[in-house]
């Protein structure tokens, strides 16, 4: 998948990144009075191939190594830059996205674009190389941010010391919100992934949470709440609502038994498999309900402790903690 995704990431960035993020801000400039001889030295010393020309702070043109070569050929090396420069330089706006610059490079075939702000003042300069460098930096920056947050999440239980550390996540589930259903479980799944849980365990928690969440969406009058407590050894999920309540829990637990309305069945849910799915995925499940008062579902999924190599090492160095909680 990587090739395709990297490509779309670059495409995204071309549209998202503003030019000001990739342009060079320290711009070397000359004035129209600068001689071509002086210009030659400026280009040589700074190893650049062109500079903007400013007159009293205003952008009046651009002069490049090509103009210099032409002047040399004609023996006009003492001429002022003002006579040899290109008067209408190609500019881009600092707030525009990089794609505008890419278009202009393709359209005008110039080596550099001058970047101006809303007032038309010169604020930077941009070459093809700057764009490439900017994109590469932005990609690796994104990558690092993701890596760092993953690393932090994975070590949260080691970083924070207490007799019993757990992470509690709470989600509110709206009633009858079919298209929004699953958002909470999706966030929970992502959180567990960040925390470095085993993929099979993540799947068991995600499926249980999703079935429980859809039950709240479909059945609960006022929607409900999901509270998830994550500990290094297990995940405890509590789904609570304020009614209508289940008249016969034994019946409700039977695979295939359902009280879901037709519109829900047409959408692929309410086949009476939800609770048995939850039971299958969890290590313990307690369902309590009172008609007119509400339902409380508690699920525990034990997390396997066979850790990845990296975490095993850290586990060893924190030896005493492993026995404390069991």
């Amino acid at each position: 998948m990587s090739e395709v995704l990297k490509f779309t990431k670059v495409q995204e960035l071309i549209y998202e990144l503003p030019i000001e993020r990739v342009m060079r801000k320290a711009v070397i400039t000359v004035s129209p009075e600068t001689s071509m001889m002086e210009l030659k030295e400026i280009l040589r010393i700074n190893r650049i191939s062109g500079v903007p020309v400013l007159e009293k702070g205003h952008l009046v043109g651009v002069i490049s190594i090509e103009d210099l070569i032409k002047a040399l050929e004609k023996g006009e090396i003492e001429a002022p830059v003002g006579e040899k420069m290109t008067r209408r330089p190609i500019t881009v706006r600092d707030k525009d996205s990089v794609v505008e610059a890419v278009k202009k490079f393709a359209q005008y075939r110039v080596g550099r674009l001058l970047v101006v702000n809303g007032q038309g003042d010169l604020v930077g300069i941009l070459t093809g190389g700057d764009i490439t460098r900017g994109l590469l930096e932005a990609i690796s920056l994104d990558y690092h941010v993701e890596e760092i947050s993953r690393y932090r999440a994975r070590h949260i239980f080691e970083d924070i010391v207490s007799d019993k550390t757990s992470l509690i996540l709470r989600y509110r589930v709206k009633p009858k919100d079919f298209s929004g259903g699953g958002r909470a479980s999706s966030k929970l799944k992502r959180a567990l992934d960040r925390l470095g849980a085993h993929p099979e365990d993540i799947r068991r928690v995600a499926i249980s949470a999703y079935e429980a969440e859809m039950n709240l969406v479909i059945h609960a009058d006022e929607g409900g709440e999901m509270e998830v407590e994550i500990e290094p050894e297990r995940v405890r999920l509590l789904a609570i609502d304020q009614g209508p309540g289940i008249p016969d829990i034994e019946k409700a637990m039977r695979p295939g038994f359902s009280t879901a309305p037709n519109w829900i069945r047409e959408l692929g849910f309410g086949a009476g498999m939800g609770l048995s799915n939850i039971k299958r995925c969890s290590d313990s499940m307690v369902l309590e309900s009172k008609l007119g008062e509400g339902t409380r579902l508690e699920i525990v999924v034990n997390l396997r402790q066979e850790l990845s190599e990296e975490s095993v090492e850290t586990e060893k160095s924190h030896e005493p903690s492993s026995g404390e909680r069991s």
Partner: protein, 124 residues
Amino acid sequence: MKLGKIIDIVEGKLLTRHGDLDQEIASCGASDLMSDVLAYVKSGSLLLTGLANLQVVRTAEMAEVSAIVFVRGKIPSEEVIALAEELKIPLVASPHGMYELCGRLYGAGLPPVMNRGERFAMRS
């Protein structure tokens, strides 16, 4: 079986912007019942379904389904495609029916989610 080959077999059209045609798909399940998908479809599988709502994509996310083929020419809404793109689950639309597609893919060697000889429990 590679996703690209599956798309050829179902004569499908990739609906999402992403989708690695070289991605390996291990097995396939077909269902319009999302709870059945959650119960039986293995992670890394292909899902054939006649439903095209948001919860199909959510179900695929939870069950770690690798790609979804919508049967009978169904094309989901922009919202559904956007969610699949966010979750990086390729969506494919096929003009053929569920039975036909099951036959084609099974015949081409894409195994079912259950192991050979493994059975579902019979229940009333």
